[in-house]
Symmetry: C2
Subunit: 581 residues, 2 copies
């Protein structure tokens, strides 16, 4: 929800003051809104956009060369007054007339038309145009009743670029009309937004549901559906917009996937991948798409898809440069592709497989199969435990531990299976698994687990059947490799706090003559106890040290997952190789 | 929360594919991340940034001319692997070496240092640098243990601009070190973020509280405080950052007020206004500040303040142009101010007062006082009813009705009081009130109320005591002015559905000889009933017509407020002027 304000009644004024201060090189305040910091040049039509605020960067964020000359700034979700619209238009006007344009809302239409009357009475050649891109707000045949939503952006952009290009007022009006006639938008919302100072959202969408066609102020939509996947949403949006395709249009389109505020860039890009594929499949050529927040609704969750069908004129204006506080578009980049990058991308999947089978004997290959089986069990266990580990990690870390362990262990499992298929012994299987874990897991723990497995592989080799002392020694090697890499020490609340007691206990029991499988099981129990005991520690290294630490009372996620893996391996060997040493 | 994904396990891959598709003119994908679409030129140091994803536009959104040559893209909140970092660096590298740089997190430090080793073994002159700007993550004297948060942006920007400028690797490293040494950030969080596919937030902040110094992945902060006002937050951030000012620094500073995802631009601008004022008060000169989302944390609510103390070199690199998918900075705008706009801003508050007193007689002035008293009562009533009206309006409209009525009626009250003080009669008081209401309220209803009051004023004039028929006729005039302006008709579910029955009943009773005060009270009751009856209507005009309408069952907000005003006026005249006609 919207949280930050001083006096809610002065929110818009405060916002505008801060906006002007931050963007003094672009804009200057006038009664009712903002105009460019540099006077509209003689002979150039002024384009004044506007409407209520709460939609940043719409509308004041797009005032500047190549875009609007001024923006009228109403209160949150409220049309500015006629006086305010006239005041901004007066300030933006040079000598060639002014186009005032907003989305099609009754308040804006009324106030801006009154402003036009006032301006004309002063001898200013003024005209008003309302954008009507929202296909959900009225059926075909009643396009003039539709609301203006993210399609405001394409229409304002093209009209502004035409004005920048020196087109006269009649021509700018014609471009605005053409852009509007060629633009369609469909939006969805997953959750409402909260007005500054309010303690409840303006509207709500039931959990797990999606409002289709919901307006950017929560106005009713056309349907409520179950929350779809990103691919499902892309299909809904593409079908909805293309289903309203204007007549006699081209296959070249400008496209906006617009976030409403809380639906973030990462999610938008996931949806965009699907939208782009669907549009290409239908023969469309997408010209300089925009994926991001262009017309928001405070912190509303949701997004919209806008398509503007392009002719040569609209394409020219859509791709023209602009330089405004929130939207800048430069000269097009040079066309020569990055040959080096391309080459690497193309060859990266090809890799050479060493002749693993030549290194191993039958015992080694049997050991390789056992290692692969243990890694398979670990990967399965970690997949089940992912969420739990993430929650534990979230207390002191960044909550990524479960995900990293799943990615690492499944990559290690796959690499081990491949090595086994290639006839590798235990050493090469472990080395391949370690390399894959480090490469795929990411994070601190990925590197450390990779080092542990690689150290085990280096010690155990591909031939013969390792004895209990070999295995205990290999685990000690792995521990030491981690110490070298990580810079952490036992007591720092890391995975080492489970690994060291494990290695010590394994060593001690094996030295006392116990078979490694039994010693491993007992050592795993020790590791579990040690991981639990990390709950009483404060982290010292390996992550930023918090001055106030919430993590006391929660065990370390890395120590916990290590102990769980130790136990899984113990189970695996107890079940499959009991007494087999 | 993060809502949109396909397979959560493939979220990052899907996101990256969509990002690359949308930004093909800037970037190309390579294993592990992205590089510029155009090869790094010979002789130029490559700058490769990175870390986990979930922070867009950090990091892949800032790859392009003037900024990074490549970005390594880890999973959400997870360090990429060493292989991935090396792969991107290899693709970005030309022939002059490569700087790899991330925020200071253990996983990134480990993996990127391993990548540097691998690159050096291939003969590539590689170096790694970790950003440590977060003052909350370790105390003074232990700056090297601090996390990197939004200060990543200033450091990456300056190092990249130096590389673009042709500085050699040692020089680029020195600039990165200098930028980092001069950069401090303090962040706050109001609410947690949700990982894709998760059904609970990664962490939470108690309602009404604020976590100070909370990391961008929810890592613990230094304190939890009561949620402040925007001004209070600005003071906390400014004090926190300036309190850690590096030694021997200048008064010129680069500043970022960074939104974490759910704290939107409008709120950031409100905070920025206070931050800017505080910095100026302390003698600082703010150079090209950035207010917006530069380093996010999915949909986390919160923000951070970053200050980089500038010397000539850092200022040159901070202000240098850049052209990337999410961050573009052009040549500086020309310095000549907008003289026309300035003039209007300066003169707009001066207005001429007509010699109102000359128009009125004693009866008219008495009527003016009564009108002002009625408007005062209406404004008080509407201030109390603001929230209720907003809720009613939110069902079918945009929830702004209460706010608009309060703004309009209070402006009308003030204008009326001024007119009375100027000796105006009832007509001029009503006209002044109507003009103020229309100018200040915004929205549809502001214009309509303004027209209603102005029509009343025109009919009643400034002299004499209006009779009951005059008052009924004036209300009829007001109704007709609204019809002309609004394009709506009775039955469209607007305020007209209360006003027409009111006017009809007032007319009928006055025609039958009743005094206007009694007739008004009965007509107000009729209006209340009529407003209630709008609950059964569907809106037809005056707002986009929803295909599925949730508003049936809820009365129209405009009709409701009109009826409430009618009753307030009735109470006012019943109490003050009973039998006074």
């Amino acid at each position: 929800m919207t949280k930050l304000c001083n006096d809610p009644a002065r929110f818009t004024e405060d916002m505008l003051a801060g906006f002007l201060d931050a963007n003094a090189r672009y804009v200057v305040g006038v009664p009712g809104g903002v105009v460019r910091a540099h006077k509209t040049r003689p002979g150039k039509v002024a384009v004044v956009i506007g409407g209520g605020s709460g939609h940043y960067p719409a509308f004041c964020g797009t005032v500047g060369p190549g875009f609007a000359d001024g923006a009228v700034v109403g209160n949150i979700f409220t049309s500015p007054s006629a006086d305010e619209a006239a005041s901004v238009a007066r300030a933006a006007h040079s000598d060639a007339g002014v186009l005032l344009t907003t989305g099609n809302y009754a308040g804006d239409v009324m106030n801006f038309n009154l402003a036009v009357s006032a301006l004309r009475s002063e001898g200013i050649d003024a005209h008003y145009f309302a954008v009507t891109d929202d296909v959900a707000s009225a059926p075909r045949g009643e396009e003039d009743k539709r609301r203006g939503i993210a399609g405001d952006f394409t229409v304002f952009k093209c009209a502004s670029a035409a004005a920048e290009d020196g087109v006269d007022l009649a021509g700018v009006i014609r471009v605005a009309e053409a852009a509007n006639a060629a633009t369609r938008t469909l939006g969805v919302a997953f959750d409402g937004c909260t007005l500054p100072g309010a303690d409840a959202p303006l509207f709500t969408v039931p959990a797990g549901r999606m409002g289709v066609g919901l307006g950017i102020h929560g106005e009713p939509g056309i349907a409520e559906e179950e929350m779809p996947t990103a691919a499902g949403l892309a299909a809904t949006l593409v079908d909805g917009v293309l289903g309203d395709r204007p007549d006699a249009t081209e296959q070249r389109i400008a496209v906006i996937l617009n976030g409403l505020g809380r639906t973030k860039y990462e999610e938008l890009f996931v949806v965009w991948g699907e939208v782009s594929r669907l549009l290409r499949e239908r023969g469309y050529v997408v010209v300089e798409p925009e994926v991001g927040e262009l017309v928001t609704s405070l912190d509303m969750a949701g997004c919209s898809l806008t398509v503007m069908w392009l002719d040569d004129e609209l394409e020219k204006y859509w791709t023209a440069p602009a330089d405004t506080p929130a939207y800048r578009k430069g000269a097009a980049a040079q066309p020569s592709p990055n040959g080096q990058a391309r080459r690497i991308a193309e060859t990266a999947t090809a890799s050479t497989t060493p002749p693993l089978a030549e290194l191993a004997d039958d015992d080694g290959r049997r050991g390789g199969r056992l290692v692969a089986r243990a890694l398979d069990a670990m990967a399965a266990m970690l997949a089940d435990a992912e969420e739990e580990l993430g929650h534990i990690d979230a207390v002191a870390g960044d909550g990524d531990h479960g995900r990293g362990m799943v990615k690492g262990s499944s990559a290690a499992r796959d690499a081990a299976a491949q090595a086994v298929a290639d006839g590798a012994g235990q050493g090469s299987v472990l080395t391949a698994a370690g390399k894959a874990w480090a490469a795929k897991a990411g994070g601190t723990s990925g590197v450390l687990w990779g080092a542990l497995l690689s150290a085990l592989g280096a010690r155990l080799g591909d031939t013969g059947r390792p004895g209990s002392a070999d295995i205990a020694g290999a685990m000690r090697d792995g521990y030491e490799a981690m110490i070298r890499l990580g810079g952490a020490a036992p007591g720092d609340k890391t995975m080492l706090d489970a690994l060291l007691p494990f290695v010590d206990e394994l060593d001690r029991r094996v030295a006392n003559g116990q078979a490694w499988q039994q010693a491993w099981r007992a050592a795993a129990d020790t590791a579990i106890d040690a991981a639990r005991a990390t709950a009483e520690m404060r982290p010292k290294v390996g992550r930023a040290r918090p001055l106030a630490d919430r993590s006391v009372g929660t065990p370390d996620a890395g120590a916990t997952s290590l102990a769980m893996c130790a136990r899984t391996v113990a189970d695996c060997f107890t079940l499959t190789t009991q007494g087999d040493n």
